[in-house]
């Protein structure tokens, strides 16, 4: 192994749990979560960075796990939908019927959680703009908007 070649072991903290794995360098964070760690809440819709279904938080920022190699996450904190168990967005999505088939929903909620923390969910047009990386083919956008608006404004409390 020459200089710069990292030991293939990757250590990642996922939803607070430290996970160590020695995976093929090709494995994306998305496939590692789903195929290796059994965290199937994160969804694959395109594998090309065009749909947002695989959105997770890495060190608190929303990223597309299909465009992130698992090996790149060494030492990072990853949060998936499973790690947002108590987030008020979950209840708000149910209340406003902000999904139908539910496939894009984990990505929408993770993305929305980041959006709210980024402080950009104050206006409807901002929510629409900054949630545009998450496709919903069932077309629940108006309901997603209502759910995020409610949580962002604190009205759910």
């Amino acid at each position: 192994m020459g200089p710069g070649v990292r030991e293939p072991t990757t250590t990642v903290t996922v939803n607070g749990a430290r996970l160590v794995a020695n995976l093929d360098a090709r494995v994306t964070l998305l496939d590692a979560l789903r195929d290796r760690f059994g965290l199937t809440g994160t969804k694959k819709g395109c594998d090309q960075g065009t749909c947002g279904s695989c959105t997770v938080l890495v060190d608190g920022r929303r990223v597309l796990s299909c465009l992130t190699l698992f090996a790149q996450c060494d030492g990072r904190q990853v949060t998936t939908i499973e790690g947002l168990a108590d987030h008020p967005l979950r209840a708000a999505f149910i209340k406003h019927d902000a999904f139908q088939c539910g496939y894009c929903t984990p990505g929408q909620i993770v993305s929305a959680a980041a959006l709210i923390r980024e402080g950009r969910a104050g206006r409807d047009e901002d929510i629409r703009e900054y949630m545009s990386g998450n496709l919903c083919r069932c077309g629940a956008y108006p309901r997603i908007l209502a759910a995020i608006r409610e949580v962002a404004s604190g009205a759910h409390a």
Partner: protein, 691 residues
């Protein structure tokens, strides 16, 4: 009926499967894991016509982790499963060397991991003898089939009436090939246990997948179990049992391990059907005061070479207007395209786009308000047979929708409304949707602890079946809703029809109602304590000679803004009024209409599957280039329900899964004409055509 439907039926109950979905805990087919699961990757044809003259698999077979490579030379011989109400099953895969479309499966590689399978699939080398593909309906070599499914219809003398009509419209409209693109990639996980096959499948019709696979492998249906408790959307793509389903089951049998085959997004474009492109000519004849005297509607659309899908475009308008002279003619043209299928309101969305735009042209020609023109031609009875509709909410849709939208605040002349430098347009369309219902069975079980289980093989692809059956059973059995458990998506449960054609809700609610009634009958007659009590129930489409079953009606109103410099088109407001019969759950039903409206917006503004004109290969087979609406593209959508229970069936529901999509594209196109004076007759309504 022994119990009244209250208070839950008709209430805005939260989705009962919501907690699992927001937790990421609802198991979709690609979430299924077995300890010894192997992964399959497909090799697809890169030509549209010809034959495979050689296929080299040694490299792939020797690649790390590879368990097998199956080609047409090594695949077991398969049969074609039995036809269904929507047509024959697709051609079984890997059975010969002929290539009929770009994207056809030529081999499957199975390996221990996803990465190994995909890497090895790349090593399979295919040689072809290439034929000149037939790619356009105008190609003189293309085989044409007139009236392919015997849905064509004629009443009166449309040709004569057109000749003598006081006013005529004669226009040609085109709609593009569209791809459903549910967000969940279609996945089949197949597992054999001796001659027993279990598949977890992205399907809208578990019973169809079962009979298809049983037929393909020549085994009894009882030995096949299909599971689809959750599906990541379908929009019609899951109505057929596609070749990949068979490939997965075949691969699992060959390697003797469970196999997962998850389509990639590009594979979704060639492997799961879609809405075929159409070219439609409409001729309308009218009196000067706006009474329709003739409608002549002709459509041509492609079908794949070795495939058949029951389809109809022009006959969908047959019941829409009280017009004494009517002709509908469909022509299917055989092309080297991937197998077509169904996409939300198949045929209706295309056919009524043309019809509703043509009516707008007529309204403009006659200087009659578009709503008033439609009101003058409402079909009070089914014009096909003179029978009264079971319900007629269409007038109410126009009235309520127009009022909510503020339609009559419109200045009628094109180009007469502005917002700053943007041109403003109002447009509308009416929708008369077909009625569908198929036989259905369901079971109701009362448990000793007082809770109940409702079971049927139907799928809930996001429409809300879990929830409305919970509401219904809770009312009928007089239980709190959380005492009712609904099991769906499993062929071991009583057989249900497809989640398609807007017909499932009528079928399944009536079957569950019957099952609950039978259950209560048993309970009333006394039963041993401490045991489950189970009853089955069934529903079937009523055979009625005296009435015409009416499907849903709708009226759609759209407001657009057009930037005259850029040609930029934005839809800023949409109102849809719907008569959907009894609304089981207004929150979930409105979600269906909102979702349909967003789908209609995609059809109006951006969606188009684009083949390379020379090779036929789809050039935009990904979600970056095949544009579907994103959040910022979607304006406020207002949904209003009118009317009430339809007397045709005990439950009185009509189905709202598709009606929402239909009127949007014509309403937007008509609004564009109102804004700009430009009549766009091709979808999508692209910006550059507005300059």
């Amino acid at each position: 009926m022994t119990r009244t439907l209250a208070p839950l039926v008709g209430a805005a109950l939260d989705r009962v499967d919501g907690a699992r979905k927001v937790a990421g805990a609802a198991p979709y087919p690609n979430d299924v894991r077995y300890p010894d699961l192997a992964y399959a990757a497909l090799v697809r044809a890169t030509i549209s016509a010809g034959r495979v003259s050689g296929i080299e698999t040694e490299g792939a077979e020797g690649a790390p982790g590879v368990l097998t490579v199956i080609t047409h030379l090594t695949a077991p011989r398969l049969s074609r499963g039995p036809a269904t109400s929507i047509g024959p099953q697709p051609t079984p895969p890997l059975q010969g060397d002929r290539v009929d479309y770009d994207g056809q499966y030529l081999a499957v590689v199975v390996a221990g991991t996803r990465e190994q399978a995909v890497a090895a699939a790349d090593l399979v080398e295919v040689r072809y003898e290439v034929d000149e593909p037939v790619l356009r309906t105008e190609d003189p070599r293309a085989e044409r089939e007139e009236n392919p499914w015997h849905f064509d219809t004629t009443r009166g003398d449309p040709a004569g009436a057109l000749r003598t009509a006081e006013v005529r419209v004669d226009s040609t409209y085109t709609t593009p090939h569209l791809t459903n693109n549910p967000l969940g990639p279609f996945t089949t996980v197949a597992r054999w246990d001796g001659d027993d096959l279990t598949v977890h499948d992205s399907t809208q019709h578990t019973a169809n997948t079962r009979s298809a696979l049983a037929g393909v492998f020549g085994i009894p249906e009882e030995r096949v179990r299909v599971l689809a408790p959750f599906v990541g959307g379908g929009f019609g793509a899951g109505l057929r049992s596609w070749p990949h389903v068979t490939v997965a089951a075949m691969a699992a049998r060959v390697v003797g391990r469970p196999v997962a085959l998850e389509l990639t997004r590009p594979e979704m474009f060639t492997g799961t059907g879609g809405r075929p492109s159409t070219v439609q000519r409409i001729r309308l004849g009218s009196t000067v005061d706006g009474r329709l005297v003739a409608i002549d509607h002709h459509a041509e659309y492609p079908a794949a070479m070795d495939d058949a899908v029951r389809y109809r475009v022009t006959p969908r308008g047959a019941g829409a207007y009280a017009c004494p002279n009517f002709a509908a003619r469909d022509v299917q043209v055989r092309l080297n395209v991937p197998p077509t299928g169904h996409m939300r309101a198949p045929g209706t969305a295309e056919g009524l786009f043309a019809l509703e735009c043509a009516l707008d042209e007529l309204a403009f020609r006659l200087d009659i308000d578009p709503v008033d023109l439609r009101l003058r031609n409402v079909a009070e009875v089914d014009p096909e047979n003179g029978r009264p509709w079971t319900t007629t909410g269409l007038r109410e849709c126009y009235r309520v929708g127009a009022e909510r939208f503020g339609w009559y605040g419109r200045s009628p002349a094109p180009c007469s409304m502005r917002d700053g430098h943007r041109m403003v347009g109002y447009g509308m369309a009416g929708v008369t949707f077909g009625w569908t219902m198929m036989p259905c069975r369901a079971a109701a079980t009362l448990h000793p602890d007082g809770t109940a289980t409702i079971a049927t093989s139907a799928t809930d692809i996001g429409t809300g079946t879990y929830t409305i059956l919970t509401q219904l059973a809770a009312d009928l059995l007089d239980l709190p809703p959380d005492w009712v458990r609904v099991e769906l998506g499993d062929t071991r449960l009583p057989k249900a029809p497809a989640a398609g054609g807007s017909g499932l809700t009528a079928a399944v609610t009536n079957a569950v109602q019957d099952a609950c009634r039978n259950l209560l009958e048993i309970v009333r007659n006394g039963h041993p304590r401490g045991t489950d009590v189970r009853a089955e129930g069934a529903s079937a489409p009523p055979e009625r000679e005296d009435v015409a079953p009416s499907g849903a009606f709708a009226a759609v109103f759209a407001e657009v803004r057009v930037d005259p410099d850029l040609g930029e088109l934005r839809v800023v407001r949409l109102v849809t009024a719907v008569d959907g019969g009894r609304i089981m759950n207004p929150k979930l039903a409105a979600s269906q209409i909102i979702g349909g409206t967003v789908g209609g917006l995609g059809m109006a503004l951006m969606e188009r599957t684009t083949p390379d004109p020379g090779s036929g290969r789809i050039m935009n087979a990904n979600l970056g280039d095949y544009l579907v609406p994103v959040h910022a593209d979607v304006p406020d959508v207002d949904v209003l329900f009118v009317g009430g229970p339809d007397p045709l069936t005990p439950m009185g529901v009509k189905g709202v899964g598709e009606v929402g999509v239909v009127g949007v594209a014509p309403a937007v196109a008509n609004a564009v004409h109102h804004a700009t004076g430009r009549r766009l007759r091709a979808l999508p309504l692209t910006v550059e055509n507005l300059l």
